[in-house]
């Protein structure tokens, strides 16, 4: 069996490991809680459902299941079934009163059917931590890897929850998971996360405060106020967009979209994609980085001389579903993707774009195409009404001046058809 050292990172495939995996933590310390947190790429929690621990031993689709004993915990993990936004699974050990390293032993082993696997002896990496991250599985460049972590916090579970982007009610009070009664509901992080987010918005991006309120009103009208989705903003960087960038219109569009994202997505972040002749998957924008974000992006990605929608659609499909190829059967995932696609002109690659939107209709992703300006946008209208799709997955709206459109009116336009899409997608088994 291969022994890992702290900080070591390996591709699972290099170790002969493949999903489903069995992860075993042997410790022998009474009262030591072993948990598995499903996290985003940024190591933030995606929601309480995706923590497998004594109060919730199974994630919604059974992707992670836990068998927890006094001296040992065993998890089975089906990486392929995890939703696209879970890009890390972190195994942790926490104790209310004692140092994790006071366990007689602390060994994590990983195995799969085909392989004896690897192990990591964590004990020597730790000192007085009452909450420790033991080992993580994470996706990098489309491939699952493992990292031997062996680091943690003296303050215990509360520190860990904060590190994963959650909030602990008051200092000195045990973190929610520690105090939850075994029969009680799993810890509720969504509301707390929202409160934390609102504070962050007020402090770091006050220009969003009133937008968030407008977004909330529009969401409530459509019964979407409790809805969770990932939000993607797709921006045309063809040269004709230049005046819209220069005058700050695109920046304001980004802020308006982020305000919406802060209600859809409890980490308050959105994924941003740029496209011109080529598509660029440029990462996330959150509250802390939104001010000046578009200028910063343009410094790295200058405007391009062309407009290719298909490449952009492909780039998102790759990002969220791992492939932009043809799809033979519908793909089901718990969290939908809501896309705002901003362009000011028609695409050069109409045929490919149609094919991509058609393929994507078997995936839980909704495309809101926004035509900015006075063009005719015949092609976008066609995409809206495209035939041969699994379900209607796109809507087109033309907004002549996105800057002067009132907030509530704008959100109405952006959300139009999304609620009916969600119902339809649920009926057809995409969600």
């Amino acid at each position: 069996m291969t022994q890992l050292s702290a900080g070591e990172k390996r591709k699972l495939s290099d170790l002969g490991l493949s999903s489903p995996l069995t992860v075993t933590v042997e410790h022998g310390l009474s009262g030591l809680d072993i948990s598995a947190f499903g996290l985003t790429a940024e190591r933030k929690m995606v929601g309480d459902d995706y923590i497998a621990f004594y109060n919730n031993p199974r994630t919604p689709q059974g992707e992670i299941t836990a068998q927890l004993g006094d001296a040992q915990a065993t998890f089975s993990v089906d990486l392929g079934k995890l939703p696209a936004n879970v890009e890390r699974v972190m195994f942790t050990a926490t104790h209310d009163s004692q140092a994790v390293a006071s366990a007689p032993q602390l060994k994590v082993s990983l195995g799969s059917l085909q392989s004896g696997g690897v192990s990591f002896d964590v004990k020597s990496s730790l000192k007085a931590e009452k909450a420790a991250m033991l080992l993580e599985l994470y996706k990098h460049s489309g491939e699952w890897r493992l990292g031997a972590v062996g680091q943690g916090f003296g303050g215990g579970l509360g520190d860990l929850i904060v590190y994963f982007g959650g909030e602990v009610e008051a200092p000195g009070v045990a973190a929610p998971a520690a105090q939850a009664a075994p029969s009680g509901p799993p810890i509720s992080l969504k509301k707390q996360a929202q409160v934390r987010l609102d504070k962050q918005i007020a402090a770091q991006a006050p220009q969003l405060v009133s937008l968030v309120k407008q977004a909330e009103v529009s969401l409530r009208k459509r019964g979407l106020d409790e809805h969770t989705a990932r939000v993607a903003l797709v921006l045309d960087i063809s040269a004709s967009m230049s005046p819209l960038y220069r005058s700050g219109v695109v920046q304001r569009v980004a802020e308006k979209t982020l305000a919406l994202a802060s209600r859809f997505d409890d980490d308050g972040r959105m994924d941003v994609f740029l496209f011109g002749l080529r598509a660029h998957d440029v990462g996330e924008i959150g509250i802390e980085g939104v001010t000046g974000a578009i200028d910063n992006l343009l410094k790295k990605h200058p405007l391009e001389g062309g407009t290719m929608y298909a490449q952009a659609v492909q780039s998102l499909r790759k990002h969220y579903f791992g492939s932009a190829g043809p799809r033979n059967s519908p793909l089901r995932q718990p969290t939908p993707i809501y896309v705002i696609f901003i362009t000011d002109g028609e695409t050069f690659d109409k045929k490919e774009s149609e094919a991509q939107v058609r393929e994507a209709s078997q995936e839980p992703i909704f495309w809101k195409f926004v035509g900015v300006g006075k063009e005719k946008f015949e092609f976008l209208q066609k995409l809206d009404d495209l035939t041969g799709r699994f379900i209607d997955n796109a809507d087109f709206v033309q907004i002549e001046n996105i800057d002067t459109t009132q907030g509530d009116q704008l959100y109405e336009m952006l959300l139009q058809e999304y609620d009916s899409y969600l119902e339809n997608a649920k009926r057809q088994g995409l969600l």
Binding site: A6, G7, V149, G150, K299
Partner: protein, 191 residues
């Protein structure tokens, strides 16, 4: 307009910024967010001949020897924890003063006392190197190192090198075990 390079990529500095003579290499990484001993990362520069070796120990610019003998390369000082925004350490290079027999200047980062502290680049997040024009402050090129490291304790971040009368920048991102000692020996420093 700054260029972001991927690992292995290179860029002609002379073409990108024809007025560039004095450059600043800014190197950064995230501070440790968990409890325990901080990561103390050290940036160093090596002046290398066409054979890929130093001419003498004085071609190794680090926290104990902050200036090259020709004055072309200068380290601006050590940052012990990685705290603060932007660059954690900076090294200045005056391209017009680099001795003619120096072909390449290699910029490296090593973890201080890595073995005793059980630290490695697998634990360091968001490392980058960028090159700025010292006179205008404009960023010319940048390389984000990503999460491709594991147990390495020394990493060559980038090289600035001569090519057909021009200066170029290469995003290297190559890691080694053995820390600064191994890296220095690799370049022919006697330790």
């Amino acid at each position: 307009m700054p260029i972001t390079l991927a690992k292995g990529g290179n860029l002609s500095l002379s073409k990108q910024d024809p007025n560039l003579t004095k450059a600043v290499l800014g190197l950064g990484w995230d501070v440790r967010s968990t409890d325990g001993q901080d990561f103390d990362l050290d940036a160093s520069a090596f002046l290398l001949t066409a054979a890929g070796k130093v001419r003498a120990d004085s071609d190794f610019i680090f926290y104990n020897q902050m200036r090259s003998s020709d004055g072309s390369v200068e380290h601006t000082g050590d940052n012990r924890t990685g705290a603060g925004e932007g660059d954690d350490e900076q090294i200045k290079i005056d391209l017009s003063r680099v001795s003619a027999d120096v072909q390449t200047v290699s910029f490296t980062v090593t973890i201080h006392d890595a073995e005793a502290r059980r630290q490695s680049f697998g634990q360091v997040r968001n490392a980058f190197i960028r090159l700025l024009n010292e006179q205008t402050g404009a960023e010319i090129v940048r390389f984000d190192l990503g999460e491709d490291f594991s147990t390495e304790t020394a990493v060559i971040f980038a090289e600035v090198y001569r090519n057909a009368g021009e200066w170029k920048f290469r995003a290297v991102g190559q890691g080694f075990a053995g820390g600064l000692g191994a890296l220095a020996r690799n370049y022919g420093i006697s330790l």
